[in-house]
Amino acid sequence: MVTIEDYIARIEETCGEEKDFIVIFKYDKKEEAVAKILKKAKIEKSISAIIFELTFKDVSFRLYGTGKAIFRNLKDKSELQNVLTDLLL
């Protein structure tokens, strides 16, 4: 069974007052992950088609073509995991 762990290499909780989450996708899965996310989330803004400002179910985040994403204003890691499950699976 496919899980979000198949796509995600690491989740980093950032250091600072903002408490953002950085999601780093696995190198060999990053293109698939980016494609899936772009299909489901709403693109608010795109910069040079490599950086995307996105929203999904009231969650705003920024996705990088290099296979990283930054999620803001989430309650905790479990909320992030729920969002990622909806986006990736």
């Binding site: 007052e17 910069i47 950086i51 920024r62």
Partner: protein
């Protein structure tokens, strides 16, 4: 003068591309890259000389011991200490400060004593003292910083008293690169009968440091920030202080004798000579040898040249960054009173957004609190982005960084 283009040839990692862009490494305050001379020295040790040091008669151990001792001497010479007796190898700055806290502070600090720490400290020069104060019950006083990030010396002179036993300050702030006058701090401390501990993690790699001239009692620094490997660092202290101090950790190498007394049914222990008394267990021999090579490399360039190069890069970068309205730089405006560290923010973006954006273009910077949360609170910052330079950075990299900042501004 220093030739950064020639220096770059010694750093294999700088040939890498990240996200299809040439690597631009501006996270030097966190750790530096390693020249091939250091990598080769470590490789050579493990390939040709590897053995445990001291108390063996075989050839390999003699070779390893000689190299390891020479590493101590090389470091002593680099900071103008009296000799290797004053140089204790540790894991890094954090362990060095913890060693002072527990080997000296645990026994010397009493309930009514006070210690002084500055608010610009890295957490590694705050947390050990806060932890120890919970055991010993002494009071910590924090010295404030001025609006431009410089140390408030008047506040230090107001807060210090005959109760003060030690004053702990950074030589260079890891947030904004401000260079503190540690000679002045040591003088003030000594006038009140206190010791002076200096966190040299951001100074020893970047400018000439002379412990005789500054007269500091303790100096802590890390090898990995000065071209050396990770896991090796230094605690310098004056021989007379180290002789009076009890060991930090117990075990092999740090003892001369452990003798079981039939009468008392206990072991009586005598300590090894300096600096081994403070190096319990098998030390990081390869790390020490790598650090020696890093020190040799820096000495060959000359620390005045290192300082001048970074100062010129910092001045140039700050001038270019000020071209953008949304970019705000923190700390002193004058690059000559700081080392090559620039903390900044971009309106409307978190520091992590900035770092991820730059990463996209192969530019590595740090984001967050940089282990200096109290200073961020003073500047009312949720976090900051930090670019920091070293000997192999060049103006063209700053130009590229500025080009990407221009794009960031448009987000």
């Amino acid at each position: 003068m220093l030739d950064p283009y020639k220096i770059r040839e010694d750093f294999p990692i700088l040939k890498r591309k990240i996200n299809n862009h040439p690597l631009i490494y501006f996270d030097n305050a966190a750790t530096s890259q390693k020249p091939k001379q250091v990598i080769e020295a470590i490789k050579n040790f493990y390939e040709n000389h590897n053995a445990n040091v001291h108390r063996a008669v075989h050839t390999l151990s003699q070779e390893a011991s000689e190299l390891y001792e020479k590493a101590h001497e090389e470091v002593a010479n680099f900071i103008n200490a009296n000799g290797m007796e004053e140089i204790v190898f540790v894991r890094g700055t954090t362990e060095a400060i913890n060693m002072v806290a527990y080997a000296w502070g645990l026994r010397s600090l009493k309930k009514d004593d006070e210690i002084i720490v500055s608010l610009m400290e890295h957490h590694s020069n705050i947390v050990p003292w806060e932890l120890l104060s919970k055991i010993n019950g002494f009071n910590l006083k924090y010295v404030s910083v001025n609006e431009d990030g410089t140390l408030n010396y008047e506040d230090l002179e107001e807060k210090i008293s005959s109760k003060t036993k030690i004053v702990c300050v950074s030589h260079v702030s890891n947030f904004d690169g401000v260079v503190n006058d540690v000679k002045r701090v040591a003088k003030v401390a000594h006038e009140h009968g206190a010791l002076a501990l200096v966190d040299g993690a951001q100074s020893v790699p970047h400018l000439p440091v002379n412990v005789k001239d500054s007269d500091v009692d303790f100096l802590a620094f890390s090898g990995h920030k000065m071209l050396g490997p990770t896991g090796i660092g230094v605690l310098f202290s004056k021989q007379e202080i180290l002789e009076k101090m009890e060991p930090f950790q117990g075990g092999g190498e740090m003892i001369r004798e452990v003798s079981f007394n039939q009468m008392t049914q206990r072991c009586s222990i005598t300590w090894n000579e300096l600096p081994w008394k403070f190096e319990a267990g098998t030390p990081n021999i390869g790390g020490g040898i790598g650090l020696m090579e890093a020190v040799k490399y820096l000495k060959k360039i000359g620390m005045e040249n290192v300082k001048a190069h970074e100062c010129a890069l910092t001045e140039y970068a700050m001038r270019r960054m000020r071209e953008y309205n949304k970019v705000k730089i923190y700390g002193p405006k004058d690059a000559s009173i700081k080392c090559g560290i620039i903390p900044f923010t971009v309106d409307g973006l978190s520091s992590h957004d900035i770092a991820l954006f730059l990463d996209n273009y192969g530019i590595m910077i740090r984001s967050g609190f940089h282990c200096a949360q109290p200073l961020h609170e003073i500047f009312k910052l949720k976090s900051s982005a930090r670019a920091s330079f070293y000997i192999y950075n060049i103006r063209e990299e700053i130009d590229q960084f500025i080009e990407v900042l221009k794009e960031i501004e448009q987000i």
